[in-house]
């Protein structure tokens, strides 16, 4: 639907106002001249309140995530590409090929259109690069002070890969725990630009779409039992979740866990544990120990997995504890973080 608009959308100095969410011409213009133009594909072009898609073969997978990151722009990415990667990854770690995304925006009155345009362009680029189109969307505007710039919820649909059965409940004692690269880059990149913490660091978010890496891994190692992206709560939360779902324990080897020096240093300064810090482009894979080397080789052969390593093993433990042999030579638990990762002084 192409409407004649009296003024072009002012992507340089304009701002979101309530009319952009009111269902009138201003909203139609925002959708046409920004969202549809950037994200454009045959499905979005249908112009209805939803997308008509082809039939797809195989069992479906569906995942959704709200993205509320602050600040909206951070080293290595922004809320736009993050919202594409995050949901693609949640679909992919179910052992599925991500096919379509839906994107819903909550915009705060006063948001500069220039910023929104950057975000949408970044989403579009991420979706294009991943080959997963945004097929339908929604835009709401709330009063200033009732949101935080932009919230983006993306929902992904995909089809499960044949012969693959991965789930957080599938880990078995003896399995190997692998990770595709260094941990915590994303979370620490965000903290480095938080107003009240700001420090300078050579840290960029690891945000990336993992479905290609996962496809390669599963092709080489279809016996992988668990896939998970260690986002909120970091490796610690993710492994505790898996331990609980599977009813097992996990023992990590601290010396093997990859953390970049700058991330480790920032954690020291802030009193945080890198195992609690989110990644957005890293993969945890758990597979039978016998297949671990083949799986690692497949991960390392992909550009997003060059630093893949084995970091631990699954054990039988009714208490479902995640433990770690420390580099120092001792042993400790790796528990869920209580509350939010707040910088400490003591």
């Amino acid at each position: 639907m192409r409407l004649p608009h009296s003024h072009p959308l002012d992507l340089e100095h304009g701002r979101i106002d309530l009319s952009h969410g009111a269902g009138g011409r201003a909203m139609a213009q925002l959708i046409e001249d920004l969202f549809a133009r950037e994200l454009g594909n045959e499905f979005l072009a249908q112009g209805d309140d939803g997308a008509r898609l082809p039939a797809c073969t195989g069992p479906l997978v569906m995942a959704t995530d709200a993205h509320v990151v602050s600040p909206l722009f951070f080293p290595g990415g922004d809320i736009g590409c993050l919202s594409v990667h995050g949901t693609i990854n949640d679909v992919a770690v179910m052992g599925a090929q991500p096919l379509y995304l839906a994107a819903s925006f909550v915009l705060e009155e006063g948001l500069p259109l220039a910023g929104l345009a950057r975000i949408v362009a970044s989403m579009a680029a991420a979706a294009r690069a991943a080959g997963v189109p945004v097929v339908t969307g929604d835009t709401k505007v709330v009063e200033r002070g009732k949101a935080d710039g932009v919230f983006i919820t993306t929902t992904g649909v995909g089809v499960r890969l044949a012969g693959i059965d991965v789930s957080g409940a599938n880990a078995r004692p003896g399995d190997a725990v692998l990770v595709s690269g260094p941990l915590g880059d994303h979370g620490m990149a965000i903290m480095s630009v938080r107003e009240n913490l700001a420090f300078d660091a050579p840290i960029v978010s690891d945000t990336a779409a993992l479905h290609g890496l996962i496809a390669d891994l599963l092709a080489a190692a279809p016996d992988v039992r668990v896939l998970r992206d260690p986002t909120r709560g970091g490796l610690a939360a993710t492994l505790n979740e898996i331990a609980h779902q599977s009813g097992v324990g996990i023992v990590l080897d601290e010396a093997a866990i990859p953390v970049r020096p700058a991330v480790a240093a920032a954690c020291e300064l802030l009193g945080l544990d890198p195992l609690d810090i989110a990644s957005e482009g890293r993969l945890i894979a758990i597979c039978p120990a016998a297949g671990a080397e083949r799986a690692l080789a497949a991960l390392r052969a992909h550009p997003l997995g060059t630093e893949a390593v084995r970091i631990g093993e699954v054990i039988a433990d009714e208490r479902r504890f995640v433990q770690m042999k420390t580099r120092f030579g001792g042993r400790r638990m790796v528990d869920w973080l209580a509350g939010d990762a707040l910088p400490r002084i003591c």
Binding site: I315, D335, G339
Partner: protein, 378 residues
């Protein structure tokens, strides 16, 4: 990290552990109190206990400023924010400390209190500058390490004439607390102290002399890295076995006998001794805390706002007091790990990861809960 990773070296640690095992007498127990939460945290995080012989028993002391802060002081801060509408600035550490009425500063924030986490007291000044129409209160906690930065901030506020800035002062003194532990009626049996690292950079090693001299307790000042702690334990075992009681300094790279005179002068200019102060676990301890000098009274939130600190009894089952005095271990508390967890702390030792209970829950409870199939000792 230079001068950090070096002191975390596992190979040296294993050999040092062997040396300690070789050097310690098998026929006796060494009860050593690490006063500082920083040491408690290092012991747990690096699994130091696994490298020590069983006859070395580490007793966690009260050196975590969050853990010793009485509920009434957090209540004060919450009232300032909720009832007086101030912007309450504080370190991330204090946000989750349980207060009365199931509140905490974080929960008060959810009820509309304007609570802001700061990384430095200078950030609180910045908040005051940016909000000239609002009252900004900095909830200051900490031992001697953290006090001089607060003093700098207060002096800066006066220099700038920042009339909307004030301080809710909870700065406390290490030697007074150590004295209280030793003076406790029927107190703990202790064979020596692992002395504070960063507190000592400021106050120096001299203030510990009375504990060695008068109480006959060896003190070894140690850095917060795990090799520092192990070396200090080795030095303490030697003193004990030698029958000595001296103040020794393992942390020579940062601690001198006289400490940081400039920092001491800053503190002396801005603060003066309180007659007494309530400590969680230790009760009211004379001359154990600081308040603003009269010259800075205008920056004292307690004077500016009518929020008396009302003492609040601890939860009936809570053993924090005994734990902070080194008399009990976390797992001896009836509600440890059940009603009291880091997610829903009842006592303050469960709040900070430096608290004895939280450290044990987060890092160490696999040692005492029913063993897994695989053996947990490597």
């Amino acid at each position: 990290m230079k001068y950090v990773d070096d002191f975390r070296d596992g190979t040296v640690a294993r050999a040092l552990g062997a040396a300690i095992r070789a050097g310690a007498r098998p026929d006796r127990e060494y009860r050593l109190m690490e006063f500082c939460g920083g040491h408690t945290h290092a012991i747990s995080r690096y699994g130091i206990a696994d490298l020590l012989p069983p006859q070395v028993r580490l007793v966690h002391g009260p050196g975590c400023p969050v853990c010793v802060l009485p509920v009434g002081r957090i209540d004060q801060a919450i009232r300032l924010a909720l009832e007086h509408g101030v912007i309450l600035c504080t370190y991330g550490d204090t946000l989750r400390v349980p207060a009365s009425g199931r509140l905490s500063l974080l929960r008060a924030k959810g009820r509309g209190a304007d609570v802001r986490m700061v990384y430095s007291p200078l950030d609180a000044l910045q908040v005051a500058r940016a909000n000239p129409a609002r009252e900004v209160v900095f909830l200051a906690i900490g031992f001697e390490t953290t006090t001089p930065p607060t003093a700098v901030a207060v002096k800066q506020a006066r220099a700038e004439g920042l009339g909307n800035f004030s301080l809710l002062c909870n700065h406390v003194l290490t030697p007074a607390a150590m004295h209280a532990i030793l003076a406790a009626p029927g107190g703990v049996r202790l064979d020596g102290f692992v002395g504070p690292a960063h507190v000592s950079t400021v106050i120096g090693s001299a203030p510990y002399e009375p504990f060695a001299r008068d109480h006959g307790k060896p003190v070894v000042i140690a850095g917060f890295e795990p090799l520092d702690v192990m070396r200090a334990i080795q030095m303490l075992i030697r003193q004990i076995d030698d029958g000595r009681a001296e103040v020794e300094n393992e942390f020579t790279r940062a601690v001198t006998a006289e400490g940081n005179r400039k920092a001491q002068a800053l503190v002396a200019e801005v603060f003066e001794l309180r007659d007494a102060f309530e400590w969680r676990g230790l009760g009211t301890v004379p001359a154990s805390a600081l308040r603003l000098r009269p010259a800075f009274a205008g920056f004292d939130a307690e004077a500016r706002f009518a929020v008396p600190a009302v003492p609040v009894p601890d939860h009936r089952a809570c053993e924090c007091a005994a734990i902070l005095r080194g008399e009990k271990r976390p797992q001896e508390c009836r509600i440890f790990g059940t009603a009291c967890t880091p997610d829903n702390p009842v006592g303050s030792c469960m709040v900070s990861s430096e608290g004895a209970c939280a450290a044990h829950y987060t890092y160490g409870r696999f040692r005492v809960e029913a063993a897994p199939t695989e053996t947990t000792r490597t």
